[in-house]
């Protein structure tokens, strides 16, 4: 059973890909059949992943040290050979489990959420294509194949954000997402090309062996390789919504909510984190590059949190919280901890999918009314959503014993360990990490505050909107919520500090030697206090109404506006696009028409003018022709006698041969 799953791991992405093909080509008209094909395919992939997962856990760290790799050549030529296939190790199997699990749940949930949508077959086709691409990315054995699937998940994101293509805003958001990610991909592709020409391979395993000793294999200096690493990191920054590429992610909420849960919260956006995790050796070899990752992560985490506290739409708040949490994951990578980032990636996938699906239930109940100020008191009408959403909020706020507590705490711990506060930091930049640690702590407080701000406004008090009668969502939607709720509680326990070899998450998913994590009680108490303080403050403002948020806004109207308008970054980008790039295009077009074409037409005009002049020679008088003829012969004779050569060219002209 296990051997079958291992040797045929390529089936895991292929099945959803086949589902996509079948739906697009044949069953587009049959909605129910299309949905069954799509869900059936992803469930089989899920089962295969579970089989792999169980066996891998049983085998300890065998696969971590000796990954299973099966490849065939995709294309090759002398000096460039790219293989496609599967690379199965603990990290990829963990991702396979997360992706197939969440995708299955989201697809089932969509049966309820998207009921009656005429494009449902198309929806399932796109989601299947997404699942295929994401799973392909996860098990890709080399960077170029990763890039292939990376772009394909970007395509699916584009298609699904713009799913309701009749809406201008949806089509604009889709375009924005694709182009922003493309801007990052410029860096990623450049980085990949530079690695290829310097190391001669893009294979992940070979690179991780060669990179630590790069001076043996290449003529690169440490600075050169650092530049390559940072250029390459631009791609993950864009995909994972890191500052300054984060602008596309909030707009991506134009897509259907299940899509937001699946692609823009749980899976695709973490592809950047995953890619950096896959080549973390590159960054660990170069402390400056590592610090760069950490700075971007910590700054993004804090920056997005300061925007989230003033937003007024559930999905927008969740989007900024996703950006913020992705920043945490990057920070963990920047602290050289693969374990912490992958752990948070996993728990975040569960509780963020839960939160988004919960928000979907609320939107469903409120007939797509977006503003949270129209909600209120929803606890009465939708108890299942209420309780599961509460679990999600507690998890993301980092309250014991929910999943986010464990994973966020681990990130705090690894950052703390790299900072000068710990007293035993190894890296060259302990002071910098101290600042980053404080930023992460502040973010933890803000996270708890804005999540519970939203929670209290939506679910407590009285319903503000008069038009709608909210109701609980159908079972097909609430059951996935409950399952995700359970996982949002228990998935953190695998990271319980003190779990040893063969038990801890950090034993199965790690880079380097395994160390038992000692619980740092000071940190645990600090982060819990910060979270509780955030929740308490939110309760005072929005539940008990002891203080008026309006009064605070009036104190600092400038800061409020800055946060509410997302620091005007979108406006800035739009200004650049419209006033610089588009103007530039227009000017160059005019240059092309009037200067370049002007010269071409000028030659044409000259020929016409020349013709007009030369026409005068054609007088029709025989004497003139004879004179010119005679002068020509004299000239030729003079030429020949002075040069004295019988050039073959002249011979050819005169036919003298």
């Amino acid at each position: 059973m296990f051997d079958f799953a291992l040797n045929n791991a390529w089936l895991i992405p292929l099945l959803p890909a086949l589902a996509f093909g079948i739906i697009t080509l044949f069953t587009k008209k049959m909605i129910k059949l299309s949905a069954s094909i799509s869900i059936g395919a992803i469930l089989i992939s899920f089962v295969l992943s579970v089989i792999l997962g169980i066996e891998l856990i049983g085998q300890g760290d065998t696969f971590l040290e000796h990954p299973y790799k099966a490849v065939v050549t995709w294309f090759s030529m002398p000096g460039l050979s790219i293989e496609v296939g599967t690379l199965i190790d603990n990290i990829s199997v963990m991702m396979l489990l997360v992706v197939t699990f969440i995708t299955s749940l989201v697809q089932i949930y969509s049966l309820g959420y998207m009921r009656g949508d005429p494009g449902l077959a198309r929806f399932f086709a796109y989601v299947s294509l997404f699942a295929a691409s994401m799973l392909g990315l996860v098990i890709a054995p080399n960077l170029l194949i990763m890039f292939v699937f990376w772009e394909l998940v970007g395509l699916c994101s584009y298609l699904l954000i713009g799913f309701w293509y009749g809406k201008i805003s949806a089509s604009a958001a889709a375009k924005k997402a694709f182009i922003t990610c493309r801007a990052g991909d410029f860096g990623l592709l450049l980085g990949i090309i530079l690695l290829q020409i310097n190391f001669g391979t893009l294979d992940l395993q070979q690179l991780s062996v060669m990179i630590p000793n790069f001076t043996q294999y290449t003529g690169l200096t440490a600075v050169g390789l650092t530049v390559i690493a940072i250029i390459l990191f631009l791609g993950p920054m864009a995909k994972s919504g890191q500052f300054p590429f984060h602008v596309w992610l909030p707009d991506a909420m134009e897509g259907p909510t299940p899509v937001s849960a699946l692609i823009h919260a749980a899976t695709m956006v973490v592809a950047g984190v995953y890619l950096v995790g896959r080549i973390l050796t590159l960054f660990i070899t170069l402390p400056s590059a590592l610090l760069f990752v950490a700075i971007i992560g910590a700054f993004t985490a804090l920056f997005a949190a300061t925007i989230a506290i003033t937003q007024t739409e559930m999905k927008k708040i969740l989007a900024y919280s996703t950006i913020s949490q992705l920043g945490y994951m990057m920070l963990a990578l920047g602290a050289a901890s693969l374990t912490a980032s992958m752990f948070h990636l996993m728990t975040h996938a569960f509780f963020k999918a839960l939160l988004f699906l919960g928000a979907g239930c609320v939107l469903h109940a409120m007939h797509n009314e977006a503003s949270i100020w129209k909600y209120g008191g929803l606890r009465k009408y939708m108890p299942v959503t209420y309780w599961t959403f509460l679990i999600g909020c507690l998890a993301i706020a980092g309250i014991f014993p929910f999943a986010g507590f464990f994973s966020k705490d681990l990130i705090m711990e690894v950052t703390f360990a790299a900072s000068s506060l710990s007293g035993h930091a190894h890296g060259p930049f302990p002071v910098a990490y101290t600042v980053l640690f404080l930023m992460a702590a502040l973010t933890a407080f803000l996270t708890a505050f804005y999540m519970f701000r939203m929670f209290f406004i939506c679910f407590h008090g009285e319903l503000r909107s008069k038009e709608v009668q909210p109701h609980e969502a159908p079972k097909v939607m609430t059951v996935p919520l409950i399952i995700l709720g359970i996982f949002s509680i228990i998935s953190g326990w695998v990271g319980w500090p003190g779990l040893g070899e063969g038990q801890a998450f950090g034993y199965f998913v790690r880079l380097g030697e395994f160390q038992v994590m000692e619980a740092n009680w000071l940190l645990i108490i600090l982060s819990t206090l910060l979270a509780l303080f955030g929740i308490g403050l939110a309760a005072l403002f929005y539940w008990k109404k002891s203080f008026s948020p309006q009064a605070v806004i009036e104190r600092v109207p400038f800061l409020y506006k800055l946060s509410y308008n997302k620091y005007y970054i979108d406006e800035f980008y739009l200004w650049i696009i419209h006033n610089i790039i588009d103007k530039c295009g227009w000017l160059l077009w005019k240059f092309d028409i009037y200067v370049i074409d002007g010269i071409v037409n000028g030659f044409g005009k000259m020929a016409q003018w020349g013709g007009a002049v030369m026409r005068k020679v054609q007088t029709g008088q025989l004497q003139h022709y004879a004179l010119i003829f005679f002068m020509g012969i004299v000239l030729m004779l003079l030429l020949l006698s002075f040069t004295g050569v019988h050039s073959p060219a002249i011979g050819l002209m005169g036919g003298a041969k």
């Binding site: 294309f75 009749g166 375009k175 020409i197 077009w589 092309d592 370049i596």
Partner: protein
Amino acid sequence: MNFPVLTTILLLPLLGAIISIFVPKEKSSIIKGIAGITTFIPLVLTIWIYYLYYTQHMATGGYAFTESIPWVKDLGITYGLGVDGFSLPLVLLTSVIGFCAVYSRSWSVETRAKEFYILLLILITGVMGTFLATDLFIFFLFYEVVIIPIYLMVIIWGSGSKTRKDIGKEYAGMKLTIYLLIGSAFLLAGLIWMYMLAGEMLGVLTFDLATLATLNFAPNLQIAIFGLMALGFLSLISMFPFHSWSPDGYAGAPTAVSMIHAGVLKKIGGYGLIRIGIFLFPVGAKFWAPVIAVLAIGNVVYTALISLAQKDMKYVVGYSSVSHMGFVLIGIASLSLVGLNGAVANMFGHGIMAALFFSIIGYIYGITKTRYIPDLGGLAHQMPRLAGAFLVAAMASAGLPGLLTFVPEVTIFIGAFDSPITRIPAFIVLTGIVIGAVYVLRMAANVLFGPRKEQWDYVEDIKGFSLLPIAVLVAFAVIFGLFPSLLMDMVNSGIQPIAAKLLSAGSQIGGSL
């Protein structure tokens, strides 16, 4: 192989044209049928020889299915045909686009269908001949044959544009033709010069490419002759600043001509540059490569920015095709095996993509009578199938993996970054992948998406024979995208001798440059 398969592929469209002459002009559907059959059979035959070459000849390389009939013995002219790994993808491209062009909708063709299809078939023969010829005289002959039908087709069946009211189809057709003619004049001068020189060196006159390739011309002469020929070839492949015929020409031309011209004909420039220029004059190529690399920036970045400002769909694709040729040029200028492989493969990839785009736009234009983007919008509501194909074309233009343009582009960049001449230009050119995504996605958003417009409710989705070219081209884009080795192995086997020539030239005369 006794059966003259290449001659069959070459002359069947011409035969179709001759038969069509005898069909009364009212029976336009019969004429279209003849054109369909006489392009479909060559397509099948091409796929067949592609398969045969891929399985049997690729390992050894070199010309296969050769035919050679002496024609003008005194001048050393032979009717010589043959295909290798380099020309075969382009022959396949010609066959598939030729077939698809017949079934693509051009809005004004109905009026004089008979003449249109006759000229189209002659055009296809001409393009095919250049790729099949192993004799440079035959190559040049077909190169010239191409020009006449194009001129007539543009000025008779062409159309003006709403964004360029100052110029009409007559201007577009004339500009296209004069550019090609001037370019071919330079090419002819270079060819004759080389022919005379080779005649002196060999003691016998010949146009045979394989024989000429054995010669080592003096470095200075190589630089001069390569320069002359390159002027011809590079204006055909629309190198900046000799590109301005291309957007106007494509916008003015009827759909079939745009497809063939952007899809295959301009690739003759790249083909000639590599097959004749680099193969025969490697030293000359080394001398000119930096110039080409720098001008390629103009192609990619400059025209991509201009594409952003376009409001006519055909101008967007027209400028984008100039932009894409910059990728090809930078691959050529890298003068490395990897870069050249990428350049050739990208010519194939861009050909399929551009033909698909023009075929779709031709359909939209034919049915809505407008190509002006602000007039359109929300067409995905009325034409979901066409919208899907449009997205495939747009994504292929943006170089999406899984479609056939991705691997060639990556290969080009790996080759270009690896070569010191092209490293810095390649860095700038790489920004083209971002701008390239912007203009196609903008066009897709403004044409396909947005609220349903009732004025287009009468529009029917594409179906029947009109669907044929789009389905075939999409299939090509996906199959070669998923299995790039089908193309890359083939190209590699054809380019290897040329790259070897470059290497040996480098070691022979490396010091003197």
